[in-house]
């Protein structure tokens, strides 16, 4: 994504050695203004990354204060003998794949409908965005109650039309999907981004296509979707990064159950670190997650290059 779009200030052509006093003064002022970020980066990002990398090779229970070096033992244990780790990784990949797939299709469809010049656009937009405003604890508690197999709203409504509803969060078969539904409900931010992207598509492209006799399907396939690819990539990447780390929803709604069906990676990591205080082992897990997200992001970013249209 073009991070530097709109840069108006011309680049400096001076190299560090022969800097004019004016350039040096600008450098000093620039560093002065960004100094809070630099300090924060060192203290809250760089140091923790380095420390976490080190802890990953130690056995470190925070109660006995000194980390003990164990080499690659944590990583070896994770990969060879930790079934819970593999289980949580599998569940997380399923969760992310279902969520990103479903949310992307759904959000684009809603944005397309909203872009059809419908009356009451601002009302609809509010309706689809409002779930984002609900604090995660309030939202998850409400959903636990909605999905209550006997007394909840969903099965209550299904009961009215004679359908025996599933057990939702209480069954290993539907629990993960229930979490996905809740997350799709809260994905209205992406709808707004898609809608803004659709509004940027110049109408003369559609007019030209119409003169050429293109039908709505062809217009969608050859104009709308290709020109929406920057927004799709942005949403898919941010949603993937975000949902890989999900802790709050499974922690509150299912506690990872039933039968570890919703034990997402982030939740398992949280438990090892903050309930069992296995800081070294959990740090190794955090690094695996980090590398996994990094690899995925880079793959999506470069893999999509051929399909992305930035020029309009």
């Amino acid at each position: 994504m073009s991070v530097f779009a709109g840069t108006r200030i011309e680049r400096s052509r001076t190299s560090l050695s022969d800097m004019s006093p004016m350039v040096r003064r600008r450098l000093v002022w620039g560093l002065f203004f960004i100094s809070p970020w630099v300090l924060g980066f060192l203290a809250f990002t760089l140091y923790p990354i380095a420390a976490s990398f080190y802890y990953g090779f130690t056995n470190y229970n925070i109660l006995n204060f000194t980390p003990r070096w164990v080499g690659t033992e944590n990583y070896a244990d994770l990969f060879t003998s930790d079934n819970v780790f593999w289980g949580s990784l599998r569940v997380t990949i399923q969760y992310v794949a279902m969520l990103v797939g479903l949310a992307t299709v759904f959000d684009i469809c809603i944005a397309l409908l909203l872009n059809m010049n419908v009356r009451g656009l601002s009302l609809y937009r509010t309706v689809f965005y409002l779930p984002v405003m609900v604090p995660v604890v309030a939202a998850t508690l409400t959903w636990v109650w909605i999905l209550n197999p006997r007394h909840g709203l969903v099965n209550g409504l299904l009961d009215r039309i004679g359908v025996d509803g599933p057990l939702w969060l209480a069954s290993p078969r539907t629990a993960l999907f229930s979490l996905v539904l809740v997350a799709v409900w809260g994905s209205g931010r992406a709808v707004l981004i898609y809608l803004a992207g659709l509004k940027e598509i110049p109408s003369h492209l559609y007019e030209a296509a119409e003169i050429d006799g293109a039908n709505p399907f062809r217009k969608m396939w050859h104009i709308t979707l290709p020109l929406l690819t920057p927004q799709i990539l942005f949403n898919v990447i941010t949603m993937t990064i975000f949902s890989f780390q999900s802790i709050a929803a499974p922690l509150i709604m299912t506690g990872g159950g039933p039968n570890k069906a919703t034990l997402l990676y982030g939740l398992q990591l949280y438990r090892l670190a903050f309930e069992r205080l296995r800081m070294g082992y959990a740090s190794a897990m955090a690094w695996i997650l980090f590398l996994l997200i990094l690899a995925l992001t880079i793959t999506m970013f470069y893999g999509s290059r051929r399909f992305i249209h930035y020029d309009r």
Binding site: M1, G30, L113
Partner: protein
Amino acid sequence: MTATTGDLPQPTTIRSGSIKARTELLLQQLGAHATLIFFGIIFMLPFLWMVSSSLKPTADIFQIPVRLIPETVTLENYPEAIRAIHFLRYLGNTFYYAAFIMVAAVVSNVFIGYGFARIDWPGRDIVFILVISTMMLPHQVRFIPLFITYSRIGWLDSFNPLIIPAFFGNAFFVFLVRQFMLTFPKDLDDAARVDGANELMIFWRIVTPLSKPAIITIAIFEFMHGWHDFIGPLVYLRNPDLYTLSVGLRLYFTQHGAEWGLLMAASTLFTLPMIVVFFFAQRTFIEGISFTGVKG
């Protein structure tokens, strides 16, 4: 910022023409409305269920068949929830946390953003890429060492681990401020510089007043972040006197899982300020989000 007011020409072009074309258009519109209304109702059901459960007397909560509209409406859950869940104490903590980081985030990010947008110093763009790339970092990687550090310096059971980092900027907001400040003409500060103003004066007297929309966006998003945050308070606050609404409400849920009338009343009260914020600042939300997606 991008206007999303729907005044742009639309893909479904209206062409004066045959009755067939007009009927087609009408059917399209009807279909769009029907689908939007259908999903819109589904999206609103959780809100209705939350409020409806909060208005039901305890005896009706587990009523079969399930009713969306309460048979008897009562407000008794509200005072009871406020008392039983220690709502006011948690509310005070939540407000303290959210307001504090809101101020900290505005001050720090506008300051940092100025350094990236309005001063052309060698190396700036490389450092900015570093800022952006920190967005990809999963918070789990930082959580454990930070927790260990905070516990060593005695910050656990205080708001310090939640509040202090907000004074050092955040990649997303720095990005937002930078993009916003880049839209001002360069002559603006050059003229002031010729008159002998230094960078601090330009920052404070010229650029900051013009950045009001970006400031409002940051203020709202950061306040919302503090209001919503669950994992931060969960990890760093063990003393129930310091609990925010998120952790307090979840604690009550783990202890009294079946008291849905009270839990839904508390959830309604917890959510209401956010809904009010949204309706007052709707434009800011929509423009801020659309902006990051399109220009990002």
